[in-house]
Structures are given as C-alpha cells and as structure tokens.
Amino acid sequence: MRVSVLALQGASALHEAALRALGAETVPLRTPGDLDDVDAVVLPGGESTTISMMLERNGLFEPLAARLGAGLPAFGTCAGMILLADEVLDGRPDQRSFAAIDVAVRRNAFGRQVDSFEADLRIEGLDGGDFPAVFIRAPVIERAGPDVEVLAAVDGRPVLCRQGPVLVAAFHPELSDDLRLHRLFLDHVTSLGPVLADRATAD
C-alpha cells in the first residue's frame, strides 16, 4: 500500500516512520505529482495556518481536494484534522479546509502549551487497552454530523472520529510508540480496497 504523507510542515517524518513500521510504502507529499498512484493520504500535525497557506502556494489544495472528493482515504491528526474538517472555529478568516468529514473543529480548544497533556484514552473498537494519547495545543470537535462515528472523547467532547474513508484525531498517535491507530487506519483502507480501485479508474 502506498500512503502519501503531507510534508509541507509539521510532524510528517514520524507518521512516515509509523506507517513504514507497519509495512506501508510512504511518499512525502509536497507537489501535485506526489499524489499519483497513492492509496491513502495522511495529514500530520503542525501549524494548520502554515500548512493551509503552503497547500495554496504549492498548488496542492485543488488536486488534493479532488482526490479526497473522489473518496481517497485520509487520516488527519491535530492540524490534519483541522484541514479535513467541514468547519474551522477560531481559525484565520482565510484558512481553507477540505470538508472531507462532517465535523466542526475548534482550534487550540484545550489551551496553550502549558495545558498540553498526555492521557490514557479509551478508544471504541481498539483492542489492547487504553491508548496513550498526546494532546499538543489540541483542537476539539465541537459538532459531529449524524454520519460521523465518535470513537473517543475527552470530557464528553469528541477527539477521534470517523466518517467513511476519513479518520481524524485531535491528538498525536505519531508521538507515542503505539502503532494501533495507524494500523486501524491501514486496515480500514484495505477493507475499502475495491471501491478505491473503481474510483481511481473513474479519475
């Protein structure tokens, strides 16, 4: 499986390492050509304002939006979750997002860096016990649409959600040594396999 990891800014290298440890082939995504022949995309943490600007300046926003619209499976963490969201609260007025998942996300909802935290998170459908989740100036999901599955929450607020081929996390699975969420995503991509092939041909 070939997974494109958005590498404009942020923690892309740690995602690549996690995906490779699970046997996936990874491609850093900087220009539209890097999207050719990939089976999935990962949008890492970083500064969502910076990444959103660089998506425009590198001519990547429209091509990636088109692939996501055609059902390319995507996993977004922190800033990546903000980029995939339908609505961004407390963002910059010019900040664009892909609306690939029907959620409204509030930036920096847990406060500043001194409030960043680690917590053991119970995740729906994940075997092997609680997940060591690292929240860095983390966003939160304020509204999840009717078709969105909430897989984990903090204080009753969703922090891990899935809708069809899109998985989003407010925290950073790439910062812990636990590969279970990356595996969950890759398994999900595999299960969507035939659908994907059809869509790739349709492109």
Binding site: G45, S116, F117, A119, F135, R137, G156
Partner: protein, 302 residues
Amino acid sequence: MAENEAAVTAGRETGTMRVKRGLAEMLKGGVIMDVVDPEQAKIAEDAGATSVMALERVPSDIRRDGGVARMSDPEMIEGIKAAVTIPVMAKARIGHFAEAQVLESLGVDYVDESEVLTPADEAHHIDKWAFTVPFVCGATNLGEALRRISEGAAMIRSKGEAGTGNIVEAVRHLRSILGDIRKITQADSAEVYDWAKQLRAPVGLVQEVAETGTLPVPLFCAGGIATPADASLVMQLGAQAVFVGSGIFKSDQPAVMAKAIVEATTNYADPEILAKVSRGLGKAMPGLEIDALDTKLADRGW
C-alpha cells in the same frame, strides 16, 4: 457509545518530556520569526510563520545598542499573544530562572534560554525540568547540546551569530553537531565513554546518540539567516526548522521576505522554487563580518 466509556480513564499529565518535545515536532519544517510588536506578529503569521518569538529588540539592535538585554515587558508579550493564533515564544536570560517563571505564568508556549540576552549566571543554566513550559536552548557543538538536554531542554537550536545576517557561524555549529553525531554512531562501546568525556556530556545521552544516530530532541537552526537560500542551506545541512531574527524585519520588505523564507523552508530541496521566491526581495538585512565583532554572543553559555 456510552459517554462514560469515551471518557479519559486516567488523569491528564502536563509538562511531560513527550508533551514538551511534541510541540517542537509540530514546528518542524517551519519558520519561527522574531517580532517586537503585535503588528510584526501579524505580518509573521500572515506570511506563514509557525511561531513568533516575542522580544523587545531584534538581535541586530541589541548588538548596536549594547547594555544589558533582559526579558521583554509582559505587557508587550501579552499584546503579541493576543494578536496571533500561532504559538508564542519568549526569551529569558541564561540562568535567570525567575524570568523563566514569569514567562511560564504568562502562558508563553516555549521559553528560549538565550545567549542573545545578557547572561544572568556565569556557571549555571536554568534547571528546565522544574518547569511545565518547554525550553529551547542554543548550542555551538554536540557537548553543549547534550548538556542543555540533560538540564531539560526539549529543543536545541544552533546559536549561530545572532544579529549579523551572516550564516557562517550557524553552518559551523550545525556541521559540528551533526558531524560529531555521525562519528559517534561509528564508535565502539569503549570509545563512547571517551566521547562523553571529551564532550563533557552525560554518558547516557552520548550512548543514546550512538544508538539512534540523532539528537534526542529536535535540532533547529538560528543565528544569521537573512535570505531564502540561507534557509535552504541549513535545512539541507540537517536543521529541522529555522529561527529568523533580524533577517526579516531588518530587510527592505519584511512581509515579502518573510513569505519567501517560509516557502524556501518548505521547498528547501527544490532550486527552481528557491529561484522563484528569491526574486525581487529588495535588500536583505545589512550583514556583519564575524572577525569585526566586539561581542560574540555564541560564546555565552557553559
């Protein structure tokens, strides 16, 4: 799903090394810009900075004015915090843990224990483990970097020579740190002890470097970046992000220069994009020869 099942099952832990280092990981591939007021902070954010460093005077002005350089006025730091949504860093003097305590209480996102300010302690750096806020420290070589990490620094930056617009010192420091890391990975277990002795660094950290081939925390570059090509150079040498001090707001067109350096940092390995963003920037900041300096800021720190 029942709400109680979705709840956090254990308490939250703040200020862990993973959390401190985590923010540095999120800043990789980006540009952290020195700003002295909310207007500059907005220009920086509009240009795509990942973070701003709030300080009273940029290093080239500190160098020109002389005197004792201290932590910035809290009011000014709060003004900058209110102006932007990206992380805000601020500088404390080397060893001045009271300034660091003030910065932590203000809610800054990273404290830079910086040689650009006048040192407050000639023998000791701040015990950074005692804080919830993460620290970045400067280093000129691997030993210095590992000593700062042993004191709790969650990010290392090259010192370079701040306020000169001259990249030569940052290159020297990066090459020294990364070159020694490459050599240590070839050392046998007995040689690693000698490396620790020579570097004046804890043997445990040297062993970790020998095994992983990297610094235990992210390595950024600071001190002398004045052009997009400077940013590309240090990224290609192995820096994971860049700090730009005087290089932006002492150039002819700060907003244009800021944007160009951001694009150069993302696309550091693409000479065509670098050529494109390097056009029409106007004058870069005036540069200084290192040999002509009265004070070398990089000599501060122990």
